[in-house]
């Protein structure tokens, strides 16, 4: 059994390392110390943990102001409330103002499973990727999470880091070097392409194994950065394989699949299948159950890919 890891641990550990090295690093949260795994940060730097209470609009404005005052704020809050509740603040105070703030959406996608659609964050790619200046990233495992957090700190730009709490295996190679806007080729293949990000990359790789047993060679791409997109990787897939399946823990509307379709349709049209939450409020179930139900089990992804490969 492959060990599964909660990416929040890698996030919290890396944030601690950054805070140790740079006294300007501050964490901003909305009573989310536990869910954002900020307990150690709070112990080490109590004054640098800016907890505004349950007030997301203020949280984002405060982060913008901290950045103006020379701090490097990491806003750590549950993704649905961080994005949905404070979207206009993210637009005006962060993206339009080009505030050097890192928005860390914790427990994104359907991580809160049974708590229901109020607590699901399957709209956040659409809401954030439409905003100019904002980098949007969903790391696939704890290795990529740690590197993305570090890259966010080193890049003077607003960044939305979409982090999951669903356990995922280590899938990125040890020598992997994350870069914004650069997709990772996880597996070579010429028959069909599967592009995924976040927790779906591991499932996409499992789907490629199923396809391989059927004699279908699937290319698997980890498109961690939703904005800016790695257009070259998409165009190569469109040219060199028979079609593209996209998988994301997000609505099929406006997310990773939509972003890729925008590139494909205008530069190299090819057949696509967009897997995600099919434009409904999800029924009760765990994240894993819901991903399976919406056709994103390894078998479901393989079936969609097989349809394009033949």
């Amino acid at each position: 059994m492959t060990a599964l890891h909660d990416c929040r641990d890698a996030f919290a550990k890396t944030l601690g390392e950054l805070a140790e090295a740079n006294p300007d690093v501050v964490a901003v949260c909305n009573d989310s110390v536990g869910s954002s795994k900020l307990g150690d940060f709070a112990k080490a730097w109590p004054e640098r943990l800016v907890n505004v209470g349950i007030a997301e609009q203020n949280m984002i404005g405060v982060a913008a102001g901290l950045a103006n005052g020379g701090k490097l704020p990491f806003v750590c809050a549950a993704a649905p409330f961080l994005t949905g509740r404070a979207l206009e603040q993210i637009k005006a105070d962060i993206a339009y103002s080009e505030a050097n703030v890192k928005l860390c959406g914790i427990s994104s996608g359907m991580a809160y499973g049974e708590l229901g659609p109020t607590h699901h964050s399957v709209e956040d790619f659409a809401w954030t990727r439409v905003l100019p200046n904002l980098i949007v990233v969903a790391p696939a495992d704890r290795i990529e999470t740690a590197q993305a957090v570090r890259a966010a700190a080193e890049t003077e730009a607003p960044v939305f880091l979409r982090l999951s709490r669903m356990g995922v295996p280590d899938i990125m190679p040890k020598d992997y070097r994350f870069q914004f806007g650069k997709a990772a080729m996880m597996r070579q293949g010429r028959d069909v392409t599967i592009i995924a990000n976040g927790v779906l990359v591991a499932r996409a790789l499992a789907a490629a194994d199923i396809l391989a047993a059927q004699g279908i060679k699937a290319r698997v791409i980890n498109m961690a950065t939703v904005k800016p997109l790695d257009e070259e990787a998409i165009l190569a897939a469109a040219r060199e394989t028979r079609g593209i399946v996209t998988c994301e823990e997000h609505s099929i509307h406006g997310g990773l699949g939509g972003a890729i379709a925008e590139v494909v349709v205008s530069r190299h049209p090819t057949r696509m299948k967009i897997l995600g939450v099919p434009g409904i409020f999800a029924p009760t179930g765990s994240a894993a159950f819901l991903l399976d139900r919406f056709g994103m089990s390894p078998e479901g992804i393989a079936a969609a890919a097989e349809g394009l490969a033949r």
């Binding site: 501050v26 004054e47 640098r48 800016v50 505004v52 209470g53 007030a55 609009q57 203020n58 984002i60 404005g61 405060v62 982060a63 913008a64 102001g65 901290l66 950045a67 103006n68 005052g69 020379g70 701090k71 704020p73 206009e88 603040q89 005006a92 105070d93 339009y96 103002s97 080009e98 505030a99």
Partner: protein, 284 residues
């Protein structure tokens, strides 16, 4: 602290501020008339506060608009960008000649201020209820850094109907931000009607006191009262400060004063001439 307000010791202060404010009002009137757009009523109510801040209180160097130790000013009522632009030009952040481009195609002088384009602007405002939270973050940054710069923020009064302000009000008191000064432009009018007929704010001072702030009420067109209230010497320890500046929309122009329709109406040629004559007659 190397930065100072280079105007602060000129005498007599109130007379000099009145002259500057009058000049800013004339330029703002001309700018709105030329552009055929703007928010002239709220500009006129805010100008005496802006003048006192930029020509007596704030420590800044227009040649170094991003100097880390500068005092911050946030215009939360971003629709009154016109008043801010004229004030920033008067203070030397950019040439007054550029004011002619206000709202013209591709001008950086947009209808709402943009920090990445206009020197002296600290954060992009326009949607209401954004300035105070950002100012709280600025003041928190100075507190964490043990820096002596201060943060000033001006909101409208109607704007206080946005709940985000009250989130920020709670946080500022919780964080004991005695380096934060809020000025409320209390002109009693919002876009469509009187605040009290729309979604009443009173008892406004009591609300801020209940939220843990130190509150002062002043005549927002009296430079003596403005100087006294905005002085850092009167800051209470461990408490953010709220100054309710009682003002009039359209202050300085008789037919605009306290009239709701002048929220964003543009004067006709005849009205422009009358307004100009009235303002010129007020030069001391």
């Amino acid at each position: 602290m190397s930065l100072v307000n280079k105007y602060a010791n000129a005498q007599p202060v109130t007379h000099r501020l009145a002259q500057i404010a009058n000049r800013i009002r004339l330029r703002d009137l001309e700018m709105v008339f030329t552009a055929k757009a703007g928010h002239i009523g709220g500009d006129m109510s805010a100008i005496d506060v802006l003048t006192t801040l930029y020509f007596h209180v704030l420590r800044y160097d227009p040649a170094k608009p991003l100097a880390p130790e500068r005092d911050r000013f946030v215009l939360s009522k971003g629709h009154c960008a016109g008043a801010l632009y004229v004030t920033l030009a008067e203070a030397g952040f950019f040439a007054a000649a550029e004011l002619k481009t206000f709202l013209q195609p591709l001008s950086r002088l947009n209808g709402h201020p943009n920090r990445t384009k206009v020197p002296g602007v600290e954060t992009n405002t326009g949607p209401l209820g954004h300035g105070l939270p950002v100012a709280v973050g600025m003041a928190k940054a100075a507190q964490l850094s043990k820096a002596s710069w201060r943060t000033y923020v001006m909101t409208g009064d109607g704007e206080l109907q946005e709940g985000s302000n009250w989130e920020a009000a709670m946080a500022a008191a919780q964080f004991k931000l005695d380096n934060l000064i809020l000025i409320i432009d209390r002109n009693r009018l919002q876009q469509g009607a009187r605040t009290e007929a729309t979604n009443a704010l009173e008892p406004l001072a009591d609300k801020w006191r209940a939220f843990g702030w130190s509150v002062t009420e002043i005549n927002g067109h009296d430079f003596g009262e403005l100087i006294a209230a905005l002085s850092p010497d009167v800051a209470p320890v461990g408490q953010p400060r709220c100054i309710i500046a009682h003002t009039n929309k359209g202050e300085g122009i008789s037919f605009m004063r306290d009239r709701v329709e002048w929220h964003h109406k543009v004067p006709s040629a005849k009205e422009y001439e009358q307004a100009r004559r009235e303002l010129e007659g007020q030069v001391l």
